[in-house]
Symmetry: C2
Subunit: 297 residues, 2 copies
Amino acid sequence: MAGALSHINGNSVLHVPCRPDPKQFPCRAFKVSMLCNQSYWASINSDIEAHLKRAIPIREPLTVFDPMNGLTFAAPRSTAPTLCVAACELVGGHRDVALPAASALWLMYSASFIHEHLPLMQSCRPKSDVRHLYGPNMELLIGDAMIPFGFELLAKSDDPARNNSNRILRVMVEISRAIGSQGMIHKQYHQVESYRSNNTKSNHLEKIKKHKGTLHACAAACGAILGGGSEEEIEKMRRYGLYVGKMASGVERNDEELNKLVEEMRASATKELRGFNEAKVQAISNYFESNFMCAQV
Amino acid sequence: MAGALSHINGNSVLHVPCRPDPKQFPCRAFKVSMLCNQSYWASINSDIEAHLKRAIPIREPLTVFDPMNGLTFAAPRSTAPTLCVAACELVGGHRDVALPAASALWLMYSASFIHEHLPLMQSCRPKSDVRHLYGPNMELLIGDAMIPFGFELLAKSDDPARNNSNRILRVMVEISRAIGSQGMIHKQYHQVESYRSNNTKSNHLEKIKKHKGTLHACAAACGAILGGGSEEEIEKMRRYGLYVGKMASGVERNDEELNKLVEEMRASATKELRGFNEAKVQAISNYFESNFMCAQV
């Protein structure tokens, strides 16, 4: 996987992008203009990052908060948190109510990436190029700290004036399932097993495929829940998230099959957005389609 | 550390008790009768275990739920979940409202034990006798799944009829802090560092000492919050939990110093329980004092 070096505390650390470098994987079949106005997305990303930076300042205990801060921003990024905030605004909610959930999703995704690349003994994972700047012990601990910290951010966003505690608790169940035993962990089990056994590889790859898009589906549904969307809107956003998440997670590189699949997913995703504010729908579609389709080809 | 073998799926697995085997560490200075009526505690433990067994049935995906079930009940037990339920009842709450929090604490403690004993490369931990029945990869994943699952159990215990969502969210913040970057993770960092560096060992041991009892303090406070205790009662229970937690975590084995410390903690702990139902106070004091004081000597 392509990587780029950046610096934390004077040491270099490898960033692994969540999608391939467009220079290395030039767009072909679905090349769309990347010049569409991305200021909407840039502003969402900037707000999530600012929220997280306020939540994880470099403070005591420094021995924990310094590496937590470093690892949170060094890990590759998922577009799921951005989608969470966009979904909230799409159903008419205020951006601020979705920022803690988006930050929690960011933290959970980072923790998962860190733990996925831990150098375990008796491991059957493929060799990773990710450098362990803080050492495996610290990275195990920091990953463990990020998960409850994400839930803490969510729990603290309870605001009696907004009477939103039931929505927050519902979002917590959604996130627990998406990152836990029925979601990301189940997918990671099949990833580990697919490396271990050649005989059952295809079965495991099939299971991994089924899980693709679940984090984006959860993110979009959570945004809609927090934004006060109706049950119908929440389910529409969940399905939209699933489609764009599947596209973000990658599909097979067989061009003909790829073209067909991407067309189907694009059509299904677009269908789910019917009935919402048209200007916002256009911004969402442009962003996800241009990003994900470039990434696939 | 002393261990006992039990069997899961036909394989033997090492259980490491959370306190030393009384046969190997006979009580001396504070030998108190273990014949006191422990049925109250046995009934709490049995209810927590039943609640957890219902929450983690052997169901699909079996590849995740089977080891999660096995590891949850194989890990050594903390008395913190029991204290959570007792504190709830002590302030007049119904036992059922504290069972999800007690189960969450059980899961978090198990996850922490599993990850603490993972065989990492470049590790500076002491060699562990704990056998890895499911393999390090699976045990890393299951630990990661247990933490959000604990939060899910708590979030799902929201009951509109009880109007308890604010209490649940408050308990989530308490638990996040106790197990996260400001609690258990910070302690574990100092544990790792105390093995790595002989020069700074005493500084790290001092920091570890400061963290002792925080999980029990959190558990007791959470029980009191969920049971509807007043702010004064919640803080009394937190302090009581801190004292018994410090006793449970062990103090130095210098007999004279030990006797003095245990006496001081016992007095402080007893003081915190003044004003509550006397019969229940007696049951709590008997249980914790007999267990922990035997464990220390």
